[in-house]
Subunit: 346 residues, 4 copies
């Protein structure tokens, strides 16, 4: 790797960030104490800053950052020249949210969800952070005959709207996910989340695409990005990871998919996406720093490889719609001058 | 079986219909000439009429019914007291549509799609049929880097809007399906189809739910029905069949799922759905008449079993959200007084 | 329900048991401290005993039961007249197993896996428990180009064979699961697990079917049971739960599937299965006692409903292979004399 | 591409072939007359021969080749220097097989299946073709409570064994597929098909892996290849295509997956696979010749790129099992000296 990496990373113009927790301990229901050790926040922040390409952090409100430690966290981030990209209010990791936050049948829980989000907004404001990322993973249901869609979704609309209205300068991105931890999420797919965004009806409410969540929903993630942009410029944020298409495996970016990332990159340029490109892995058994570094490196390699010439070529492919030509282009992209070409026999 | 079936079928108030082709030959890519014999239309219509509970037919325009045979088909239907429930323009079974109908890159094909739909509207009008069901199965793509979402979707909006605008008294239902025959459909899920319906912006354009398609998209079909109703009363039509949740197997209704049909029935009452309940099977190897009869019998049994008392009980379950109570209710629904109950141990 | 439950539960002849942990706290990666409170073991055992139909327990070795507390646990179980059905060595919930137990690249970890299993065998022997259930959930891999199948599977064969050879009177059941916690398990499906059982080549090594795992692997669980029996009488144990077919949701038995449970029940009779029918739920948000009680009640209702007459009818259906007749039989099973029947129209 | 393709194709040592039908018309259940035109056999054979890298053909017995036209087909193939790689008896595309061939409840159908396979063996023998590929796509079932596993599988064993015993010098490969055209296949996965191969108990009966079928069964195809080899050297044949992992889309090879093909290539070398690498696409809307050419080009590019150095590197990765290192290796494989590397931060 005798290349001048610093130089190469400077050639990219996308802004890359990471959710701080990616660098900490990881657990699952079978090993709840975790596959690794808990790391001090300061160490995690320093580690994030050391990853080539990383310029920003997402923090879980109430967990990474609290009203009490905001200043401390801020100095650490400043020291390491890291921007605060988003605050993710913790509406999922405590018993109180077990049956939902904004959609809970318990009015006190709904109020608490509003308060938690307010706190996060407050913290964001103090940190100069422009966006709240609302992942309402507990807001859903599991069994047939269990949910009252009308009532519970109305509560969500009401609760999210109330916070968003009070913080008009803060972008609020709703992150969708087909399932987990609930088997059925209320924010399950790009399009149904967008419908709720429209119902909320405020300019500062939009959607976050987690690329892996889109894969699990069997969406073509590039088309989801396009759609969110087309219907009201509502693509507010992006999370990256990878999986096999059946579950939110949260793997290293690019470990499974390739062509879909190329297509996404093209369309993000087309729609003029200027937000952050944020790593959201869950490296159960891998070293977090290396897994994130590898993910950013993949996206940087991709960004650099998709020169204007290449992007123009893609534009032509999309205009033509010839699947064999598109596949051939991808093959040459991968094998480059190792490739034999494929003289069309007919 | 010693029951007076006629009487029992009269106890239902839902209107049941069938797509005529369900009673004909069936094929697949491995046996394209079909698993059965082709049946004359007259015989199929008579057979449909003989199925207890069936009161209406859906016809594929350009295939079951053409400008030439409309009067003939009409007399046959009148003779058998069958209503015409919908016309489904054939925008999928000819080579011309192989790369899309309304979304085709070829302007002539797009024009042809409009003309075909016009013809269907014309036929519907002559038959007093209130609805066109547009299943745009070829409108999509297959490979990465193949589709130009923006352009192709715009063509769809334009083409559908043009027809719909000319036939304001005809309802036009867009039927979504995640995939097949294209691997990626433009009308893939309830919510994204609804977004296009909103973009088209005409009161007579809505959505058709095919229950099996909702299963394949991993939607909770009851929630999809609710959502289409909530956002503008756009649930226009319903197709029924069953599958294992991974592919559009088009099996006999109720052969795989049960609780989800119960939940759907409840919500259809709640939202006041008054359209047809139409069978859309593809009984590859089964006798079509028997498979459809069995499907209608399932839905009639379900309808009769869901008495007002039961529906009220469901209402309470949804208000509570207790998964064990909901499951217990379903168990008692199935096993009735065969059941031992389950004294709660805690 | 006003019925004499005790009497009804006595009418069953299957032996029902539960994994003790079902009645404790439940967590996931987002809420690792759990959706509930931790319960003392004594309370969990008493609760298990209070569930109508439950006559046995499965215990996780090293967690529920240790060399130290074996006698204490034994007295509690005797007091409540509960048999010890299996010991499940904990080869999954500690950091040491994070990269596999018997398949680990680290020889010390492999030795530890053998020791842990020895301990479990020792405990089983003291408790008069006839079976070890080996769920090797960490034995697998996640990424492409990560596993050395040949070497790692050979270690598994060797390690399992060594323990099994030392405990010839103890049955050892290998429980398969497509994925989770590893994305790829070495014991992923019924058939490939059976191949390893054959390779191990000892009469006391067989397979455990977890019904939900079979659903996720898209197996027809009845066929898997038949297959394990046919190739060497290797169906040693059964775990019950339910899911939507895409992930190991570990839901209440019968909450989603019905016909597949009927078919499984039939084939278990056919192959003369005499082992335990054990509940293996993971009731994240439900009361464990009620969820397990509901599950057993479902299986008891099913058992009682499948009278010899019904079983004979199923035999005829299988001989005929007429899908419409099979579906109609299921419909009558569900709707009984509420049903209108379905006079075949053709 | 300006490269000397002929030279590059000569650098490969794998033997590439194609199923002749890939180059003909393609249809599905919605467009049964096909997306293209029917092509004369002679033209298809010439086209196959013109595809760089293709040296052999697979023919469907009773369809591409019959007892009547065997000599004619043979001369055409000789003229074009194409070897006959396999005969695939047509046990799927006629009404008689609609409810199964070897597993049919109708003894006459089972006899006919045997006869059809005999004919194919006869043709193979005349053509000097070393292998029959038995894809028993109709041998399975669809509905719960429909199949009599024990009886129907026994018929399959008996029927296949009878033919195999009569042609000891002909390899017989059983090709598995999870589903389609039956929703449940008897030969569904690598491992359960292998179990039947073992039951048949003849040295000339083995398994064919269709890479896409392995993806749909959620197998890691490299592991399936290893397993078939490990348990008796039973990997007899290989079909190539690609898909999204949910259905047998039969797309151009390499259009979706990459890392899995690399891993498969490695293990095929490891186990010393010397059979053919055969294209089995179903290019619904693509030009067949170009789609097949693109597929072979992908595999040739891959073969050439996996130099001995690279293969050795993979060996080290598998020995280590470090997912980040494996992913990084894949990234460098793709981006080569375009890559910035990823200096590990920790």
């Amino acid at each position: 790797m005798g290349l001048d990496c610093a130089f190469l990373f400077e050639m990219t113009s996308n802004k890359y960030s990471v959710i701080l927790g990616n660098l900490g301990n990881t657990c699952d229901r079978f090993l709840p104490t975790g596959y690794k050790q808990v790391r001090p926040k300061g160490e995690m922040i320093a580690l994030a800053a050391s990853i080539p390409g990383i310029e920003g952090l997402e923090l879980v409100g109430g967990w990474d950052v609290t009203p009490q430690n905001t200043s401390e966290i801020q100095s650490m981030m400043q020291e390491h020249k890291l921007a605060c990209v988003s605050i993710i209010p913790d509406l999922f990791s405590r018993q109180i949210w077990g049956s939902g936050s904004f959609c809970s049948r318990d009015a006190q829980v709904r109020t608490a969800a509003g308060d938690e989000t307010e706190n996060a907004a407050e913290i964001a404001s103090r940190l100069g952070c422009p966006l709240l990322n609302l992942w309402l993973g507990q807001d859903g249901y599991d069994y047939p005959l269990q949910a009252n869609f009308g009532q519970q979704r109305a509560w969500m609309v009401e609760g999210i709207r109330a916070v968003a209205a009070r913080w008009p300068h803060l972008k609020i991105a709703l992150e969708y996910k087909l399932k987990e931890p609930r088997i059925r999420s209320f924010h399950a797919r790009a399009a149904d989340t967008l419908l709720m965004v429209q119902e909320i009806g405020l300019p500062n409410v939009g959607v976050c695409i987690d690329v892996g969540h889109a894969f699990v929903a069997q969406e073509n993630v590039a088309e989801s990005a396009w759609m969110l942009h087309h219907y009201g410029k509502k693509l507010f944020h992006l999370h990256y990871n990878d999986n096999y298409g059946h579950w939110d495996d949260d793997m290293i970016v690019g470990s499974i998919h390739l062509a879909q990332y190329v297509e996404l990159s093209y369309w993000l340029k087309q729609i003029g996406y200027e937000g952050w490109h944020s790593m959201d892995l869950y490296p159960y058994r891998e070293d977090g720093g290396r897994a994130v570094a590898e993910s950013v490196a993949f996206l940087c390699d991709l960004e650099r490889s998709l020169t204007w010439t290449k992007l123009e070529e893609i534009g032509h492919l999309l205009a033509e719609g010839d699947a064999t030509a598109s596949t051939r282009w991808m093959r040459n992209f991968v094998f480059g001058n190792k490739s034999a070409g494929s003289p069309p026999p007919s």
